[in-house]
C-alpha cells in the first residue's frame, strides 16, 4: 500500500530534482510568469554572469503593474507614451529583455494583455499539478486550478530563469475546511476575508493551504481564484484547491491547454492529484460557511475584518497588547472611531479590479448591482479595471461596460491599477476607497489613502449609496 498524500505532497514529490539530507530539495519549476517590476534586476544579473534563460519556452512575460489604464493607442493607431519616466523605463526594460532572452512577450496593446494572475489561467499557461512561480506574492491565485503556485523574490526569479528550479524547504500542510454553503448574496471574497480574519495574517506562515469542503466544489473557477489569491494575506505562500471537472471544463480549449490525446492523458493524470482520504495535514482549521456575512475591512491589515452589518471594534477589545496598539494606530489612520456602524462609513472612491477580483464573473456581479442605478454624488471617482483584454472584450460583448459607464464609472484598460498605485491610479490622501483588491496596508493605494476591502458586488453597492452598504439590501 502506498502512503496517503495530500495534493501538495503529490505535486512536491513529482518535482524533486535533487533531495538534500537536510530536508531541502531542488524543485523543478514548470511555469514562470514574468512582469516588469520584479524582473529587471534578475535579467541584469543574468547578463552580468553571462547566463541564458534555461527554458524560455516555459516562461511568459507581460507588463501589468506600471501600465496606465487609460487609452494606450491614439486615434491614429500610435502608441501613447507613458508620462512617468521611471515607469516607462521599467516597461521598456521588459519589452527589451523578453526578446533578448527568447521569452514570449504579451505587449501592452495586445488583446491578451492583462494582470499576470488573470492571464495565466485564461491562457491555460497555468495547469493542474504543475509548479508555477512569479515575482509577485499573489501568484498563490493559480492554486485555484490545483497548481503549486507561489510568489518569489527577484533573486529567485533570476535563479528560475537560469536553472528552471528553486532550492526550497518543504512547507507544512494546512487544511482549511469550510462546512456548509454560503448564504444568498455572499461571495468568495467575503469567504476569504472571513477566513483571514479567523487565522490572522501569520496564520498560514510556513504552510501551504488546501481549501476543502463542498463550498469550493460548488464554486466557479473565478471564485476559487479569488480565494486562493488571498492565501498570502493569511501568511501562506500557496493555497490549493483540488482540480475537478469544473477545472477541466474551464481549461479545455484554451490557447495553451493540451490538445487531443495529450488532453486525455493530462486529465487522467490530474484526476490522480486530489488529496488521498487518509492523508494528514499538519494543521487544520474549520470554518462554518453560515458564519460568513458580507465582509469589509476596518483597519490597515487584511485580518481587520468585520461584517458590514457590524461596528468598528474598540482597540481595548483585543486580548493582545500589541494588537490593541496596532488597532489604535489603524483607527487613527483610517479616521474611524470605535463603535461606529460600518454601514455609516462614507466612501469617495470605488475601485473594481485587481488580480483578486477583475474576472468576468466579478464584473457581472458588480454590474448586476449597478444596472439601472447611478453612483452617489459623494462618490468622486469610480473605476472598473478589467483583469485582461479578453475579460474586457467579453464584458463589452455582454454590454457590461455600458452598465458601468451609465452608472458613472470609468471603463479602463487592463492592469494592476489602484490595487497598489504604481501607475497613475491612486486614491487621494485622507480619502476612502471601497476596493475589491487584496491589501489595505497603510499607503497601499497612495500615500494616506484609506482602503476598505470588499467584494465586487459590495463595492458596487457602496458606489450606489456613497457609503459602505450591505449589498443584500440592493439585490433583495
Amino acid at each position: 500500500m502506498t502512503e496517503a498524500k495530500t495534493l501538495y505532497e503529490k505535486i512536491w514529490d513529482a518535482h524533486v530534482v535533487d533531495q538534500r539530507d537536510d530536508g531541502t530539495a531542488l524543485i523543478y519549476i514548470d511555469r514562470h510568469l514574468v512582469h516588469e517590476v520584479t524582473s529587471p534586476q534578475a535579467f541584469e544579473g543574468l547578463r552580468k554572469a553571462g547566463r541564458k534563460v534555461r527554458r524560455p519556452d516555459l516562461t511568459l512575460a507581460v507588463p501589468d503593474h506600471n501600465l496606465p489604464t487609460t487609452a494606450r493607442i491614439d486615434a491614429d493607431g500610435n502608441k501613447i507614451p507613458i508620462a512617468d519616466p521611471q515607469s516607462a523605463a521599467q516597461l521598456e526594460a521588459l519589452e527589451a529583455n523578453a526578446p533578448a532572452f527568447g521569452i514570449k512577450y504579451i505587449g501592452a496593446s495586445d488583446k491578451e494583455q492583462g494582470i499576470v494572475h488573470v492571464i495565466g489561467p485564461e491562457q491555460a499557461f497555468t495547469l493542474p499539478g504543475t509548479t508555477l512561480v512569479c515575482g509577485d506574492s499573489h501568484t498563490a491565485a493559480h492554486g485555484a486550478l490545483g497548481a503549486l503556485a507561489f510568489g518569489i523574490g527577484t533573486s529567485e526569479v533570476e535563479h528560475v530563469l537560469a536553472t528552471q528550479t528553486l532550492q526550497l524547504s518543504r512547507s507544512k500542510s494546512m487544511e482549511i475546511r469550510v462546512e456548509g454553503l454560503l448564504g444568498p448574496g455572499i461571495s468568495p471574497k467575503d469567504l476569504i476575508l472571513h477566513i483571514i480574519g479567523v487565522i490572522g495574517t501569520a496564520g498560514g506562515t510556513g504552510h501551504v493551504i488546501e481549501y476543502r469542503g463542498e463550498v469550493f466544489e460548488q464554486m466557479s473557477i473565478e471564485g476559487r481564484l479569488t480565494v486562493s489569491n488571498m492565501s498570502i494575506e493569511g501568511g501562506a505562500r500557496a493555497g490549493l484547491i483540488a482540480p475537478d471537472e469544473k477545472t477541466f471544463a474551464y481549461l479545455k480549449g484554451r490557447p495553451m491547454a493540451p490538445k487531443g490525446a495529450d488532453w486525455d492523458a493530462a486529465v487522467a493524470y490530474w484526476k490522480t492529484l486530489p488529496t488521498d482520504n487518509d492523508a494528514r495535514f499538519d494543521k487544520s482549521v474549520t470554518i462554518q460557511a453560515a458564519d460568513v456575512a458580507p465582509t469589509v475591512t476596518w483597519g490597515t491589515s487584511p485580518e481587520d475584518v468585520v461584517p458590514v452589518t457590524g461596528h468598528v471594534p474598540a482597540p481595548e477589545s483585543f486580548a493582545d497588547a500589541s494588537k490593541r496598539d496596532a488597532a489604535r494606530k489603524s483607527l487613527d489612520y483610517m479616521g474611524l472611531t470605535s463603535g461606529q456602524a460600518m454601514g455609516d462609513v462614507p466612501v469617495e472612491n470605488i475601485f473594481i479590479g485587481s488580480c483578486t477580483n477583475s474576472r468576468i464573473e466579478d464584473l457581472r456581479a458588480a454590474a448586476q448591482v449597478l444596472d439601472g442605478r447611478k453612483k452617489a454624488d459623494g462618490v468622486k471617482w469610480a473605476i472598473v479595471v478589467p483583469g485582461s483584454g479578453l475579460v474586457k472584450a467579453q464584458a463589452e460583448a455582454e454590454g457590461l461596460d455600458k452598465i458601468f459607464t451609465d452608472s458613472g464609472f470609468e471603463w479602463r484598460e487592463p492592469g494592476c491599477s489602484a490595487c497598489l498605485g504604481m501607475n497613475p491610479d491612486k486614491v487621494p490622501p485622507g480619502e476612502r476607497c471601497a476596493s475589491t483588491s487584496n491589501r489595505n496596508f497603510v499607503g497601499r493605494q497612495g500615500p494616506g489613502a484609506r482602503t476598505h476591502l470588499m467584494s465586487p458586488a459590495m463595492a458596487a453597492a457602496a458606489a450606489v449609496t456613497g457609503k459602505l452598504t450591505d449589498v443584500r439590501e440592493l439585490i433583495g
Binding site: 531542488l26 523543478y28 511568459l60 523605463a89 518569489i152
Partner: protein
C-alpha cells in the same frame, strides 16, 4: 554574495509587529531597474512621523533592526531587502518573518534571525544603550551583559551565508539532475509540453 560570519553593532529597537512590505518600501520606489539607492525610501511613512526611531541620532549607523512578529508580510518585493541593506542594516531580529521576506533576505546576505518574544524584549532593552552581536558559527546573539540567545537556521542557508556561496552556481552544478528530470517528464507526460514561443 559576501560571506557573513558575524554582525556586531547598535540595533534599532523598532519592535513593531506585522510590518508589511509596503511599510518597508512603498510601491512608488519599485519603479527602479537597479538594486541600489532604496535606503532613502525605507520606512518612509514611519519616518514622516516626528520622533521616529529610525531618525533618532542614538541609532545612527545601526547595523541591526529588532522587530515584532511576522516581519515583512505582504508582497514578494525583494526591494524590501535591498532597501534595508542600502540603509546599512545587516541583520533583522524578530520572533517570526514572512516566508518570502525571509528567503529574499537570505539571498542578499541579510540575516533574518528568529528568536522568542522574551529574547526580543530583552534585546529591545539592551539596544537602547548598547551593541548586540550575532555570530553565525555558534548561531547565537549576545550582549555585553552576558545575555546569550541561540537561534536556528537550516544548515544549507547557514553554509551559504558563511561562505558567501552563489546559489545559482551551486544549482548549475546539478544540471545533469535537472536534465534528467526534464527527460523523465518529456517521456512520461507528453501533455506537459512547453508553450509555443
Amino acid at each position: 554574495m559576501k560571506p557573513v560570519r558575524s554582525v556586531e553593532g547598535r540595533a534599532i529597537p523598532f519592535g513593531q509587529k506585522n510590518v508589511d512590505t509596503d511599510v518597508i518600501i512603498a510601491a512608488e520606489w519599485l519603479k527602479t531597474i537597479s538594486r541600489d539607492g532604496l535606503g532613502k525610501g525605507a520606512f518612509e511613512s514611519i519616518r514622516a512621523q516626528e520622533g521616529n526611531v529610525f531618525d533618532d541620532p542614538e541609532y545612527a549607523g545601526a547595523s541591526i533592526l529588532i522587530a515584532g512578529d511576522n516581519f515583512g508580510c505582504g508582497s514578494s518585493r525583494e526591494h524590501a531587502a535591498w532597501a534595508l541593506d542600502d540603509m546599512g542594516i545587516k541583520a533583522i531580529i524578530a520572533p517570526s518573518f514572512s516566508d518570502i521576506f525571509s528567503s529574499n533576505a537570505f539571498k542578499n546576505g541579510l540575516l533574518a534571525i528568529a528568536l522568542p518574544q522574551e529574547a526580543i524584549d530583552r534585546l529591545m532593552e539592551v539596544a537602547k544603550t548598547d551593541p548586540v552581536t550575532i555570530d553565525m558559527e555558534s548561531m547565537s546573539v549576545t550582549t555585553p551583559f552576558q545575555d546569550r540567545f541561540t537561534f536556528e537556521m537550516d544548515p544549507f542557508r547557514q553554509q551559504c551565508l558563511m561562505d558567501g556561496l552563489d546559489e545559482i552556481d551551486l544549482t548549475m552544478a546539478k544540471s545533469d539532475a535537472i536534465e534528467a528530470h526534464e527527460n523523465r517528464v518529456d517521456s512520461a507526460q507528453s501533455w506537459h509540453k512547453p508553450i509555443a514561443a
